[in-house]
């Protein structure tokens, strides 16, 4: 059996006495679309931070394609094909869309240390960036400064930056947070187009989106994995209904 | 023993004079490099009151504190408030500009020479105990420093005002929504910061001297205290001040040839170990 694209073994993270992630064993098969759901404060974003390398775990390990990457930094995991988006936009306010995407593309192509020729003169970089922007249907904003764009557009750039590094494994931390339902549908449709071969781990609140998009769902409660199964079975799982869906209605 | 005492006293003075900066810079987040200008104002008011008008020392110190607070309020109303949204670099340029202007004004009014201060008799001299020699003024500084620390901790750390201030700084819009008069909170906080500067400046004249270049000469020391202590933390400022005071005095006593290396080395090492400062909140 081939190793899962992404795997954690006994992953724990404690902030002082507060345990945010508790012995999580997660296996995400290559090519799957795996959603992690859970109530607020369940430790979903902490999990993404641990997977992407922003946080070091208190104990436990993270593996990409069976290789232990626990000690690797974020940028090194990106080089191994693991990229993430952020729940709260982390963009480059004063750059144009094309510039920031081109920058991300250049980094993936390993050109980030080139210091002599202008970025704009790297044809392959610029073409790829332009294609990506067009594919995400934000071409009209290509030359606008990021800070001047509407929030929905910015959210797409957040994803564009991640896609620019052509990830094999993509961690999406609530990609549709804060944008209207109709737009989020489109967003997910685009995502599906772009990442047919990509392994995706998705954190999402919108259950409709999750059930439509994901093929596996894990439920995280209090930092620990409660259930992992197909969307349909998770939806009907009594425990899940109680802790998650029940709570969600109050949110 | 005496060295330890001197170190603590020296640290307390640092704390007194820097604590105001941990309000304006630490809590309010203004890069207020002109802090020393408020301290200098306090110093001059105190000296003039003592020397020219023979006003008793405690009253003179009070006057110094109040006038620095008044200057703080005036400047906050007129100019500082326009800087809250500005970039930090602009704040640097502005506050350095203010330092230059204040230095020129001080020179114009009082001349470039250092100002003499004559303490009342009850604050002079030394008390000889069997195992320690206590400078009366230094003891006074330690007591005053502790009083200020406790008061500040009570006033800003625990009360509703403190909570409002933090809310107003972190989320001004939200704070307004909650009915907090953000403008007023800022004025009051700035006044507190300036008043503390004035107080520190007034009681510092005896040890630091006072001349128009005061605001620049000690600028680095103020910043060291606030940054090493951790922005916005009085406890941090207090501990940092005392630590630096002790290291500095002990270093000068035991290894005098090293001189001012000590203070910078201590600072750099502390910041390498804890970049967010002793009591600072670690940034994620």
């Amino acid at each position: 059996m081939t190793a899962p694209a992404l795997e954690t073994r006994g992953l724990c993270k404690a902030f002082g006495s507060f345990v945010a992630t508790n012995a999580v064993d997660l296996r995400i098969a290559a090519g799957s679309r795996h959603a992690v759901i859970g109530p607020n404060g369940a430790g979903k974003t902490t999990l993404v931070n641990l997977l992407s390398g922003l946080f070091r775990p208190t104990s436990g390990t993270v593996h990409i394609d069976g290789q232990d990457v626990t000690r690797l930094g974020q940028h090194e995991r990106v080089r191994r094909g693991l990229t993430r988006t952020f729940q709260i936009n982390r963009l480059f306010a004063d750059m144009t869309v094309l510039e920031s995407v081109a920058m991300a593309v250049a980094e993936r192509q390993g050109l980030g240390r080139r210091f002599w020729k202008p970025l704009a003169s790297y044809g392959a970089v610029m073409d790829e960036a332009a294609q990506l922007i067009e594919g995400l249907r934000i071409a009209d904003a290509a030359h606008s400064r990021t800070r001047d764009l509407a929030y929905g557009k910015q959210r797409i750039i957040e994803i564009a930056l991640a896609l620019a590094s052509r990830p094999r494994i993509l961690l999406l931390d609530e990609p549709a947070a804060g944008i209207p339902t109709r737009e989020s549908r489109e967003l997910f449709a685009t995502l599906a187009d772009f990442s047919a071969d990509t392994t995706i781990l998705l954190i999402e609140h919108d259950m409709d989106l999750v059930f439509r998009f994901a093929d596996r769902v894990s439920v995280l409660v209090g930092g620990a994995l409660l259930v992992e199964d197909t969307p349909a079975r998770v939806a009907s799982h009594p425990l899940v209904k109680e802790v998650y869906l029940g709570t969600a209605q109050h949110v | 023993m005496t060295i330890l005492f001197d170190g603590i006293a020296s640290g307390m003075l640092l704390f007194l004079i820097s604590s105001g900066l941990s309000v304006t810079l630490g809590l309010m987040g203004i890069i207020n490099l002109a802090h020393g200008a408020f301290a200098m104002l306090g110093g001059y008011v105190c000296v003039v009151a003592l020397d020219r008008y023979g006003i008793p020392f405690p009253v003179a110190v009070l006057m110094a504190t109040l006038s620095a607070a008044a200057a703080g309020v005036a400047l906050e109303r007129l100019v500082y408030r326009r800087l809250y949204g500005a970039g930090q670099l602009d704040q640097v340029l502005f506050s350095i500009g203010l330092i230059f202007v204040s230095m020129a004004l001080a020179r114009w009014l009082f001349g470039p020479q250092p100002q003499p201060i004559r303490l009342p008799g009850w604050l002079q001299g030394q008390v000889q105990l069997p195992w320690i020699e206590i400078g009366v003024y230094r003891a006074f500084l330690i007591v005053l420093g502790l009083v200020v620390a406790v008061t500040l901790h009570r006033a800003v750390g625990v009360t509703r005002f403190g909570a409002r201030l933090r809310a107003a700084v972190d989320r001004p819009a939200v704070a307004r929504g909650l009915g907090i008069d953000v403008d007023r909170v800022f004025v009051v906080a700035f006044a507190i910061g300036s008043a503390l500067a004035g107080l520190g400046g007034a009681v510092g004249v005896e040890l630091l001297g006072l001349d128009p270049s005061f605001p620049l000469r000690y600028l680095v020391y103020f910043l060291i205290v606030v940054v090493v202590g951790g922005s916005g933390s009085f406890e941090g400022s207090l501990v940092a001040s005392v630590l630096i005071g002790i290291f500095d005095v002990a270093g000068k006593y035991y290894v005098p040839q090293v001189g001012s290396f000590i203070i910078y080395t201590v600072m750099v090492v502390m910041l390498i170990v804890r970049p967010q400062g002793l009591f600072g909140r670690p940034s994620p």
Binding site: - | T2, I3, D6, A9, S10, L13, R107, G111, P112, Q113, P114, Q115, P116, R118, Q124, G125, Q126, E133, G135, Y137, R138, E206, L207, L208, G209, L210, D211, P212, S213, R217, Y218, Y221, D248, V249, A250, G251, K252, Y253, P256, Q257, G259, S260
Partner: protein, 391 residues
């Protein structure tokens, strides 16, 4: 660069000095480089006072020529700026003589220009020994740190003091003073029991003073630049009761600089210092000088050794120009300056023919109250002291 620089040029036209008259009426142009701003701005004012007083007493003329003064601000130790200003004074203002020069680094830098442009530089304060050695176009009318430190050591030894602790500010002049004192004191049979160099920006002397007290020397010799440091040191020394513990305080005259003495206050009382000038120096010439300079300087400035040196610098230039018959050639002026001897408000002084450095009386003074004001009262002297730094 264009627009801003043009504004600069416009200002020069507006505020600069026009060179109109020729022949015998052609003025002597003197470029004064000194601190006119910043913490040491008083130095510039002191120079101005001395220069203005001399000119006032001589109808604004030196050797019959009118005089033009061009002032340039080089605040504090700023050799790169001083050098540039000197270059400008040569190239643009076409000065005949450099003067002022309060800080040694600036004097070194200007000395190099003086040598290159063959324009005499009259040092009115900078006190580092090697300034006159480095440039043949420099003559000094002020003093050197060694020159005033050395007599203090000899005097202390004469009093039977055997063990001295030295405290100096940790920079060039401080080290020079320490070295000169130690050399002279050891030569006279004394011992240096400890020495310490304190940072220039030093808020707290308590540790150093405590250390001295614990070492129990017979005397402590200290050197700090005039300003905030001497009073801070004296206060701490008083607080710790050094004098009561039987430790004598001796220093160079910077500690009791006439212009800061009032501000230093009673802690200076009884302090023994060595220097070349005191405002209460007993002579008719000094009485007249001080009264006139005080009147000129205004209320907030007490004329000090800076003003005297500036006054003497003008006197030296006057005498030299008389010798050259008004010739402004730099080499000739330098020749004329060598070996000049005349009476200054501080007493007799001369410019050494070999080294172009000053030779003068160094006085030992005690800080006392005179007519209700603190003053340096001279009670002992060393005549014709040369700079011990010179071979």
């Amino acid at each position: 660069m264009g627009r801003s620089a043009r504004i600069v040029a416009a200002a020069f036209v507006a505020f600069g000095v026009s060179s109109a008259a020729w022949a015998d009426e052609k003025p002597v142009k003197i470029g004064v480089i000194a601190s006119y701003s910043g913490p040491y701005a008083d130095y510039g004012r002191q120079f101005d006072t001395g220069i203005a007083l001399y000119l006032k007493e001589h109808d604004g003329k030196l050797a019959g020529r009118p005089v033009e003064i061009v002032r340039k601000d080089a605040p504090g130790a700023a050799p790169d700026l001083a050098k540039r200003l000197a270059q400008e004074l040569v190239v643009k203002d076409k000065v005949n003589v450099f003067a002022g020069l309060d800080f040694s680094p600036n004097a070194f830098a200007v000395g190099a220009i003086a040598k290159e442009a063959k324009i005499p530089a009259i040092v009115m304060n900078a006190s580092s020994s090697a300034i006159t050695t480095n440039s043949p176009y420099v003559a000094r009318v002020s003093f050197t740190v060694e020159q005033v430190s050395d007599p203090m050591a000899r005097w202390a030894a004469k009093q039977g003091i055997k063990k001295v602790y030295t405290v100096v500010a940790d920079y060039g002049p401080g080290k020079d003073s320490e070295t000169a004192f130690e050399k002279a004191f050891v030569a006279a049979g004394g011992t240096i029991v400890g020495k310490v160099r304190t940072p220039l920006s030093n808020p707290d002397f308590s540790a150093y003073v405590q250390r001295i007290k614990d070492e129990k020397p017979e005397a402590v010799f200290f050197f700090f630049p005039s300003g905030v440091l001497p009073p801070a040191f004296l206060k701490t020394a008083a607080e710790r009761g050094l004098q009561e513990a039987g430790i004598k305080l001796i220093a160079t005259g910077e500690a009791t600089d006439d212009s800061y003495l009032a501000a230093t206050g009673d802690v200076a009382l009884g302090l023994i210092t060595s220097h070349h000038y005191s405002r209460v120096h007993e002579s008719e010439k000094n009485k007249a000088f001080f009264a006139a300079a005080k009147a000129l300087a205004g209320n907030d400035l007490v004329p000090s050794y800076f003003a005297v040196a500036a006054y003497d610098g003008m006197a030296a230039l006057d005498l030299a120009l008389r010798k050259t018959g008004g010739d402004l050639d730099g080499a000739k002026i330098m020749e004329a300056l060598k070996g000049l001897a005349f009476e200054s408000p501080r007493g007799p002084i001369e410019i050494d023919a070999e080294t172009r450095d000053i030779v003068q009386t160094v006085y030992i003074r005690r800080t006392e109250r005179v007519n209700g004001e603190l003053a340096n009262v001279e009670f002992d002297r060393f005549d014709r002291v040369r700079d011990p730094g010179k071979p």
